[in-house]
């Protein structure tokens, strides 16, 4: 197995008697976008700080590119991070001067790259203004610009989209997605669940410091649902089809993951050959918001013994 870009093993953090992160194990591979979601106080920021080397674990291990960031500060040459929301800069320096300072601390970056990232985050016009007069959204964008400045192998961002308007949000997500496509591993915490579904590879749902679920969104994006005329027969036919990776039943619908989108035609053909009609077939858009609510509520019910009425229908039998 190749070395993960970011990994933790049974990561635990206690503040006094309070355990804020409990046995958190995860890995992020190069090119993946891994999101931490969870209610306020779930431990997302603490995980971000533990992983980036700002806080020390009470037990467990953490590594960036195979190295412990606490023992190997030089590994941070490969790291770009924003851990404050809003991103923190020297208010008396201009946006460009702040990035120059980051470049110096990182060991030097060409000034053309500074201009490039300022342009990328649509801050070229504000580059020579003091950060003290920047809006919240501008600071956040400057934070992302600072994080991607050195073209790092690992990006760690705590609430990068906090306080942003929809256009800025889209801009940040585009930059992060492009970074991931170039092989950068991205770890972020967020409350923007809709955007998470759009470009994250996997999502960890945290509650009270513990990982309660990890959802592979890559598989979810490739998921389809159909309403067959004969359910049992349809399941049997698709179960044995080589171009189907997974089949499950959700109410009156059959949900499946094809080996590729090109094989969708073969699905209807296979069912027709087996005498099963298809009343409706669509891409199955994963409702992470509903799933998240259900998982967090279930976890709270398990912990407290108080069952909250489900806000949305559940999805039994899904992987």
């Amino acid at each position: 197995m190749s070395t993960p870009a970011i990994a933790s093993e049974r990561l635990t953090k206690n503040y006094g008697k309070r355990q804020v992160v409990k046995d958190f194990t995860f890995r992020v591979n190069p090119g993946e976008v891994y999101a931490l979601v969870g209610p306020n106080g779930a431990g997302k920021t603490t995980v971000i700080r533990l992983v980036s080397g700002l806080a020390f674990p009470s037990s467990g291990t953490v590594s960036i590119l195979g190295k412990n960031p606490h023992l190997n500060p030089e590994v941070r040459r490969h790291l770009g991070a924003v851990v404050e929301a809003p991103a923190a800069f020297y208010p008396y320096l201009t946006g460009r001067a702040n990035l120059e300072l980051h470049a110096t601390l990182a060991g030097g970056v060409a000034s053309s790259r500074i201009t490039e990232v300022l342009g990328l985050m649509e801050l070229a016009d504000a580059a020579d203004r003091k950060v003290g007069v920047y809006s919240l959204g501008m600071r956040q964008r400057l934070g992302v610009a600072a994080a991607v400045l050195t073209r790092p192998d690992v990006l760690i961002l705590d609430e990068p989209a906090s306080g942003m308007d929809p256009l800025s949000l889209h801009l940040v997500h585009t930059v992060l997605r492009e970074a991931a496509e170039e092989g950068t591993a991205v770890l972020l915490s967020t409350h923007h669940l809709d955007e998470v579904v759009a470009y994250c590879t996997r999502v960890a749902i945290l509650e009270e410091g513990a990982l309660i679920d990890e959802v592979n969104l890559f598989d979810r994006r490739e998921r389809y649902r159909l309403r067959p005329t004969a359910m049992e027969q349809a399941v049997r036919l698709l179960d044995e089809a080589p171009f189907i990776k997974h089949v499950t039943v959700r109410g009156h619908e059959l949900v499946f993951i094809p080996s590729s989108a090109d094989t969708l035609g073969q699905v209807t053909q296979k069912l027709a050959e087996g005498g099963v009609g298809v009343l409706e077939m669509n891409r199955d858009v994963f409702d992470l918001r509903a799933y998240y609510r259900e998982r967090v509520s279930a976890e709270r019910a398990r912990r407290t013994g108080v069952v909250e009425p489900p806000a949305v229908p559940s999805f039994p039998g899904e992987p």
């Binding site: 080397g53 700002l54 851990v83 923190a88 020297y90 980051h102 601390l105 600072a146």
Partner: protein
Amino acid sequence: MISVLLRMELSKLWRLTSVRVGLLLLVLFPILWSYAPGIFEVYGFFLVSGYQVPALSLLSSMQFLLPLLTAITAAELLGVEISNGTLPTVLLRPVTRPNWLAAKLVAAAVYPFLMLVVFLLASLLAGAQFGFGSFVGGTGLGEAGLLGTGSLSAGAALLELGRGYLLAALALVPIAMLAVMFTVIFMNAAGGALATLATLIIMQLLVVFPNLERFLLTTQLNAYSVPNAELSWVVALIALYGALFAAVAVILFERKDF
């Protein structure tokens, strides 16, 4: 990397509010002395030379004003990074914590010297009305005090002032280290400065134990008046205090969660 960090920290020093206000105070303060009408009533002498104003400035501020300004600035140097949120931002770059804090400690240690250079120059400027020639009396920072032992040349007077101000700056360095140490502990500039001042006040009260007095940090604030024969002991003690506080600050900072 250390020289880069040091340059950064020294340039930040100028941006601090406490530095600007402190230096302004130190420029204005000597004017009080040079124009004060009641010096004879309080101290029993008349100013006869411009070289005596720096001594009055130093004598009247070394027990409170200068330690206060030192503690506030040293605490602010680190505290402002905490309140701005820039501390984690810097630590996420390939900079080791000890190196970064060492740069802060050096900048904090430089500040007393900067302060006293400004104070000395402002005091001399304020004393210009009394002239800078040879005079009968003392600067107030030599062994013979303000009354002196006869005529003092301008060169000898300047030498006395230079020695006194240098030792005073040196004596303030451990206070700067102490303030950084407390700011590391409390992660807050106000907490760091207050704890430093509280420590100094407690130390001043410890003079009721005569055997301890010689070893107290607050006793070393009078280093500017120490005869040459005792100088090595005083300097060694100041260095020991400074090194101890700096080392504790670095050790605590190394294991701190941010």
